[in-house]
Amino acid sequence: VSDVVTSGPLQGIRVIELANEISSWAGRVLADLGADVIVVEPPAGALQRTQGPFLDDIAGVERSLSWWYYNTGKRSVALDLGTASDGAALERLVASADVLLTAGAVDVSRFRTDPSLITVSVDHPEPLTDLTLLAAGGPVWMCGYDDHSVPPIRGGGNQGFHIASHWAVIGLLVALLQRELNGEGQHVDVSALAAVNVTTEVGTYGYLSSGLEVWRQTGRHAGAAASMPTQIRCADGRYINAGILVRRGPEFAQMLRWIESHGLRAEFEGAVFLEMGTEYEVVRSADLLDPVVQQIMMSVRDAQQFVASRVSAYDFFVSAQQHGLAAGVIYSPDEVLDDPHFLARNWPVEIHHDDLDRSFTYPGVPIRFTGTPAAVGGRAPRIGEHQFLAE
């Protein structure tokens, strides 16, 4: 039986989760935070168990890495909710819990007889995939390339489901706080479509406030007007995202020190413009009407390109950050796990799978609590591994 750790701030809160890939990330976050999350799945296993990739590329309901990732720290009860006995078992489980977490067309009203129970539903159009959710919610329109003859793209991973799940967790935490005040639970209904739409940054509010129509841009935020490219290829062929341009005098000075730290100041012809930038407290938008100020600002990107042409992306990243200049090396997601900054934080964690006698690296919990440490619980449960809970 998996060893479930509940040391986090939600220790003592029991959540019954009806297995669904849309809300499974919410359950995972709650488990990371210490809640006792019991996932209820059909006797043949949750649909998520059929999703690859699979351990050693061999398919199987206990080998789905998707299931593993989304269900660490949870316990599993297998119920056939079409039968009266298992329906009654679910009611008993919910009666023992603080929270019922669901997604889609689940009627939770029959559980609302317990006034202290909090029910959370992630509501969404049916049928649904993460791709259609992100498309219909707005983000896909905003993701892609400067060349608008290239169709919109969608970022990898179940980002729409994650966004909806995060809002479900936010709603639930607030409802838990409210219950502390008056002892009463409530129903928390999260619209997945609205959740992803409010992540479109300027897209929706720009349109509502000013009628702006934003367009996707390569490697940077969508905008109503084209902005400067931010991705720069470095000497090792890898890319850096150089972020937004500096605007404050001290930042121009830092940029000069950064170039100097690479021994390149004498070679960089545009240093004279960065020196001019040091004379500004801050370059304001109105200042940009002055072509000399425009040149000062462009010299920032020129400087970044100059340094990039001579150093690796990682050295650019670290040296710029050390000088207080925002920059990000463009890692693949797996490379992040090896970054010394994350390793220093002990962020990747090894999870032992006692049933396989093997350990695997998982991303850790991004939050640290000084009083109630959160941690990734044990491996994801096998189907009905904790069936005794339903008895």
Binding site: H221, G223, S227, I244, P291
Partner: protein, 100 residues
């Protein structure tokens, strides 16, 4: 005239003012057919030479890729820029810096 980045120059014969963005060395940069002068120098009062009177545009960049020279016009005038007698061509506009 010896040029270097950041140097501010003006036309000897019209209102054009400019700044060197790129390039250095002894370059025969002219405006209105006459050699440019240091910023702050009085105009010579001579007329703009024939054929060098199409004007400069404020905020535009003019460049000679072979020389690695690029100048930014900070004040427009009636003379036109050249290297010796060869016209200095206007560059395509770069997008303005954006906050994001």
């Amino acid at each position: 005239m010896e040029l270097k980045a950041g140097q501010r120059l003006k036309s000897a014969v019209c209102a054009t003012e400019m700044m060197v963005v790129k390039g250095k060395g002894d370059i025969d940069l002219r405006c209105g057919g006459h050699s440019v002068v240091a910023h702050g120098t009085d105009a010579s009062g001579e007329p703009i030479a024939d054929g060098f009177d199409t004007g400069t545009q404020m905020g535009k960049r003019y460049a000679d890729d072979d020389l690695g020279l690029e100048v930014l016009v900070t004040k427009a005038g009636k003379g036109s820029l050249s290297i010796g007698d060869a016209p200095l061509l206007q560059k395509d506009a770069k997008p303005l810096p954006s906050s994001d």
